[in-house]
Subunit: 220 residues, 4 copies
């Protein structure tokens, strides 16, 4: 073997084995034998700072997690192309019958920043510009009209990140079998936005369209 796994990963894995895996090995073995049955589908960003399992202290088996650039859901396109995110949604909703689908955005999103830059500068994505093409998913979002050259860039970035979450929820609802489950009450959709600068989490109130700080938890 020419290259070995970086030492940092070897040590991190070793740490996992000797701490959390040791403590939870029965749980892992049960999950291996019985298969997974998560109740939550999380659509999150690839960003290295926003791991959903960390932010929600999730147990193994609790959430199916799709991660792509900017946590986008493309619209339903039943053609013969590869649709990685749609495959995950199909697997979560049709096969595993999750009860919740959560689109989780975050502050400082590089994909959104790239989209905003291109948008302001009138750049058009060329074939093979994978990030730029991918970010076109949010172009239909009418809220993006609020993006303006004179605005406070941080505020504008946050507004666009949140508009993208709303657009992904709209796109989720273009999947016919998903809508059916939402209508029947078997599935609930949620939009959330995390700011790693101070740890706040905001939840979308779809009635008002606004993202509101999470209510304080009940103590149990």
């Amino acid at each position: 073997m020419r290259h070995r796994l970086p030492n940092r990963l070897v040590e991190g894995y070793s740490g996992f084995r000797q701490t959390r895996f040791r403590r939870e090995k029965d749980h892992y073995a049960e999950l291996a034998a019985a298969g997974q049955a998560p109740e939550v589908l999380m659509v999150a960003c690839v960003d290295s700072r926003v791991a959903p399992e960390v932010i929600f202290d999730a147990d193994a088996g609790e959430m199916l997690v799709v991660r792509n650039v900017a946590n986008l859901v493309p619209p339903y396109q039943p053609d013969s192309n590869y649709h990685g995110t749609s495959a995950a949604i199909e697997f979560a909703v049709q096969v595993l019958e999750v009860k919740h689908a959560v689109v989780m955005g975050h502050a400082s999103c590089g994909g959104i920043r790239a989209f905003r830059d291109n948008h302001l500068k009138g750049r058009v994505a060329a074939p093979g510009d994978f990030v730029a093409q991918w970010m076109e998913i949010i172009a239909p979002a009418t809220e993006l009209a609020l993006v303006c050259e004179g605005c406070d860039p941080l505020e504008d970035q946050h507004a666009m990140e949140q508009a993208a979450i709303r657009q992904s929820l709209r796109n989720l609802r273009t999947f016919p079998w998903l809508v059916e489950r939402e209508r029947s009450g078997a599935l609930q959709l949620h939009g959330i936005w995390f700011d790693m600068a101070d740890g706040t989490l905001r939840e979308l109130d779809e009635a008002s369209g606004r993202f509101q700080p999470l209510q304080r938890p009940r103590f149990t």
Copy 2:
């Protein structure tokens, strides 16, 4: 708001805030201010039992994580379709200049099982069968010839999971700018396979094509 975030997520987030985030809030604030600079791109599965940040005890900021069904990398296709995984690879390699790209497979993979079932039964993916279409990415893998009806299903499943990792590495090397970085020594590719039943991690030796148990770590 009609639906609220499930209580389990609210409590998990609250736990994160009061334990890990509290302890690492300076680190998160620095990462928010300075931006991310991960050295590792991890291509992992959406499966709820194999969170890379847990298995490698990763810190915030350490690894960019793409997660799709069966941790696949599609081949380089510079057209105008949405290529979510390719966008993440472009972002990791071209923008963030990661030093390692790791394809992480695992035992009990539902995507691989679905592919194997379809394969054995001669089923063809119809448009809109997102999982089946997506799994076609591994169809070119010649190793799949070993899939056979008479074989031990578990052994066969593991062989196919590992063949899929090799195929994804091959596909990674169809991205011209990625190959360039690998050739210059700026980027290393790795294939690993995790078995949650007993916690073992195997690493692909590309010379022999075999997955070998991780060597024991140096004590530091």
Copy 3:
């Protein structure tokens, strides 16, 4: 060396090194260089199920922790015997000037159970019966009158555990320099009782003498 440290401890230490210590090594190095400055003195039991650092998710450096059988504080005895707990209290209050002294009891306390058994059976501690002698510290507690043969043993045990906490607080107030600091407002005393069966924590209200469930935390 005839005997080696048990493997479980070696692996646990190795896990600590590769997870928490790795993440906090700068904090540990600072604490080593600057010395400790905890704000809390915790008087807790030796019981293997009630580690204060775990139950309060304490950081290194946060609490000085004395642990003896049944989390007792003996009365002030300025003689020339060895007074281990009093030495810890002196160190915490006089040298480190902690702001809080907490006596932390718990359900299922073996020391309290032994005392209760001896008490009911009229057994007297012989010299060299270290546990029995040590538990005599709580004998002056008038609340112990409530211990009765006909009572519900679990309720009785809990009542006695809580009476012991009140007695330890009384004994803490026999240390003249500690009382002085409490009077000046520099030090606050607290009594708490933890039940590992369901995770509840109760806090002593000294006005009423009752242990009340902890109020729910503010969300921050």
Copy 4:
């Protein structure tokens, strides 16, 4: 209630409840029902930087932990005084029949530093000087002859911390029922020394009298 538990403790407890306790509540409930059965007695220091459960990543129920200033074991004194540490040893060895008794010292020990200062300056402990009196437990240690005014203070401090561990092991062996169990092979004694500055752990080799770095762990 005049004073409330400090907010930091309330939040830390809340974090524990929502993360570790949530994950391990069945284990805690079993421990509550079945009683504890630890295999290890740990004699450790009250120091806020050296929590044994953290350093050994211990599970609830794994180790009975006595903590006093400088992790000392006094000699066997079967009189009618309060002997908190001896009570814990009796409980661990006679009642719980632990298999290992570990004396765990550490660098930067305030109790050892106080003893060394008094020793160099010829100060005598007065009645009511609880720390000074308590530290007299190590006065018989002949190794202390190496303490000298001209020496490197840090090296000298470490030597004294390690001499104290050897003295505590000697004192452990003055308990007749403990020696009996050691002779029969039912109990093993260990001395270890932790340096939080760099995380190293050293283990006493009683044959040579030297503290040696822990061997690297086997990977499991």
